[in-house]
């Protein structure tokens, strides 16, 4: 094996890493403020913090993507300079990104070979195959080598990302939210295997996460960041989840989740009957999906991303034509057209609103008027717009939903993620809502926004709306849903009232064990 031969025997041993007074300022904004962390060799260290707390900035400084404004890094107690990612790799520090860095059209084997610094000009595949198989023998991870990466499951991709770092002989791995796309079972498998390797002293791991469950189950030590500062660290065994969450959130006021109002015998509102749809490759993405949502009910659809949820949302919101099947509201046939959305009072919002629900360069006021701009009072005559009612409505909504924006005329893309989502939320639920279709509403938002948005969804349910919630975050489903359905490979494979199921059962169904 060319790669392993280039280093002395036994070099694959865990290394330790330390930062001292790491500070990074982007102009006036201090993203990282005097952060010192210590990761012991062979430990599994968790870096905890909410979005925007400075976790990514810290690891990007360590990886050489950013140069810290001040502060230094130590590897095995020796000060090192890391001017670029190459230097980090040379020190044995590798990173597994939240978004996959594999090349989709290349096979796993091609991805591994190209990742090497010394890829030969002409590749002798017979020899490389043998070397790769020998390498795979030395690790607990198994991945099919000959399939294009685009055909692998998320779990396999994540394993391949980790394998790639091991193949490059990195012995300090930084994992950025490694389980966000995995089923609970896949997450447990991957983290368990990594944990085993740290215990064997082969690997040191620094894992960015916001899931307490993973910290308590797998990490030895934890460091918590908040607003660019280190606010606590210690052995996981000495800290309770309560301690950690208090460090993470600080004294920010978090909206209490609204109480669940008990309903009984509510009428059926939304019915999806035998829905089929194809994906962009013209392969079946939805197969015979049947769902029923009553008034005042949140139906949570759990599942690992890429199992047909986005196609389901696209069909329901009119972005994709179903190949078969019907949708009914109040027993009447429904097509996702503007007119019918309006008369049946169907609304919805989803993750990454700048991509899915807003026109980034139009103003906040215009974006907020998408549902109403063609109606009185904004459009008093057919086709004519009257700006002043539009601005007035936008100002009211901005105040009511606490959207932080410099003005109604600001392009919506300049707002922070939480504020864009609030603006869209204001547009969608400020009127009378009877059916609400929501997909990953809290993806990438900070705690305060998450709590706000979940409370609003619960409010709509309590007011009698039928809510269809698709989420890749199982905790969100567990918190909000009255009924849970699991989607796997385009089918609904499991349905249960929430009070008669639990995390493990849902997790197994997500993994396809049903």
């Amino acid at each position: 094996m060319a790669v392993l031969q280039s280093r002395p025997e036994g070099a694959r041993r865990a290394i330790g890493l330390e930062t001292i007074g790491m500070t990074k300022a982007f102009g006036p904004l201090v993203a990282l403020d005097d952060v010192s962390i210590r990761v012991r060799p062979g430990s599994f260290h968790a870096l905890l913090g909410e979005n925007g707390a400075g976790k990514s900035t810290l690891v990007k400084c360590v990886m050489g993507f950013y140069q810290p404004t001040s502060g230094s890094a130590l590897v095995n107690d020796r000060e090192v300079s890391i001017p670029n990612p190459k230097a980090a790799h040379a020190l044995g520090i590798g990173m597994v990104y939240q978004h996959f860095t594999l090349v989709p059209s290349l096979t796993a084997a091609e991805n591994l070979v190209i990742s090497r610094a010394d890829t030969p000009a002409v590749i002798d595949w017979a020899k490389e195959r043998k070397a790769l198989e020998a390498f795979l023998e030395t690790t607990p991870f198994k991945v099919p080598l000959d399939m294009p990466v685009s055909g692998l499951s998320a779990g396999e991709k994540q394993k391949l990302e980790i394998l790639k770092q091991l193949y490059l002989d990195q012995s300090f791995l930084i994992l950025d939210e490694p389980t966000s796309v995995l089923t609970p079972d896949e997450a447990d498998e991957v983290l368990g295997l990594l944990r085993g390797m740290t215990e064997a002293g082969e690997l040191t791991i620094l894992m960015i996460t916001h899931k307490f469950r993973e910290v308590t189950a797998y990490a030895d030590e934890v460091t918590v960041l908040r607003r660019g500062r280190m606010v606590g660290s210690g052995k996981v065994s000495d800290l309770s989840i309560d301690d950690m969450s208090r460090m993470m959130i600080g004294d920010t006021a978090i909206r209490e989740s609204a109480a669940r109002k008990a309903h009984s015998g509510e009428p059926l509102k939304l019915e999806i009957a035998g829905l089929f749809a194809d994906d962009d490759e013209e392969l079946p993405a939805l197969e015979a999906v049947n769902l029923k949502v009553r008034c005042g009910e949140i139906l949570g659809i759990a599942g690992v991303s890429g199992n047909g949820q986005s196609e389901l949302i696209q069909v329901l919101s009119g972005q994709r034509l179903p190949s078969d099947g019907r949708i009914f509201i109040d027993g009447k046939p429904y097509e996702p057209e503007r007119k019918l959305m309006d008369s049946f009072k169907v609304f919805g919002f989803s993750e990454e609103p700048l991509r899915n629900a807003a026109v980034p360069r139009m103003s906040v006021a215009e974006n907020m008027a998408f549902r109403t701009f063609d109606k009185v009072p904004i459009s008093p005559f057919r086709g004519w717009l009257s700006p002043s009612p539009m601005l007035k409505k936008a100002r009211d909504l901005i105040a009511a939903y606490r959207v932080k924006t410099p003005s109604t005329e600001e392009p919506i893309e300049n707002l922070s993620g939480g504020n864009v989502q609030r603006a869209i939320l204001a547009r969608e639920i400020s009127g009378e809502v009877e059916v609400l279709i929501v997909a990953n509403p809290c993806f990438g938002l900070d705690f305060a926004s998450v709590a706000e948005i979940r409370a609003q969804i619960m409010d709509q349910r309590n007011r009698g709306a039928a809510v269809l919630l698709v989420s890749e975050d199982l905790d969100e489903i567990l918190e909000l849903a009255d009924t849970v359905a699991v989607m796997s490979e385009g089918r609904i494979t499991y349905t249960s009232p929430m009070d008669r199921t639990d995390r493990a059962t849902i997790g197994h169904a997500m993994a396809g064990h049903h």
Partner: protein, 307 residues
Amino acid sequence: MNDEAGLATVLLAMFAGAIRVSTPFLFVSLGETLTEKSGRINLGLEGTLVFGAMSGYAISYHTGSPWFGVLVAGLGGTVFGAIHGYLCKLPRVNDIAIGIALMLFGTGIAFFFGKAYIQPQAPRLPSISFGFWAENPSVRQALEINPLFLIGLFLAIFLWWGLKNTRWGLVVRTTGDSAPAALALGIDVDRVRLLSTMAGGFFAGVGGSFLSLYYPGSWTEGLSSGQGLMAVALVIFARWNPLYCFAAALLFGAAGALGPALQSIGISRGYHFFNAAPYIMTLLIMIASVSPKRSLKGAPGELSITK
């Protein structure tokens, strides 16, 4: 009996046409495949093709060496590719707009310098006779094959093999499929694209020299009639696979030979209609191979048309 002979003549003429006419299509589409595999679209290859035809002819006329003309045509194409590659790496520059600008620039500058070469006769490229065994003169004529056609065939095979089995092949595919992944591997994305566009320009320039130095075999302003643009469309049809490019170029060549072939057996009605066969075929193929519901299979992920 007469009908059969006529059909045989037409088929033979189309076969000969496929070999004769396909070479520029082949070179341009191979060049475009390489460029697009790296994640850029170069629509300017039509201009490169025309400029290659003019410069190749001019150099052949002045030096007496057609092969030197081919080389210079290729180098001229490389310069066009370098301009495209350099401009496109500037922020907020769109490769399609630059391509159209370079297409007009290339044809314009070729017409400007080419005025003087419309009359004179330049030495043409030789061909190799593979038909020495045949009795039939038209078979013999059909098997007069230009070395550039064979070079194109080998180039197609080499590119197909190289994209899978060499480091630069994997680097080009990586760059074209996912720029973030390429950056994470320490690949200089702009440089790879610049070099791929330059190589693509070289091939297109060589393809142009074939037009003026072999078939039709002289420099005129209407020489290309959009072949460079159709070759770009052909890349989509060939699904970015160099071997399919070869097959598609043959198909286009055969379609282009349909009109003259029919005329040679006395069917002259609809001559201009049959001459339009390659263009009609381009449309039909595009209609047949796209779908509103499906994204293009095999398209490099970084192309501005698929993003």
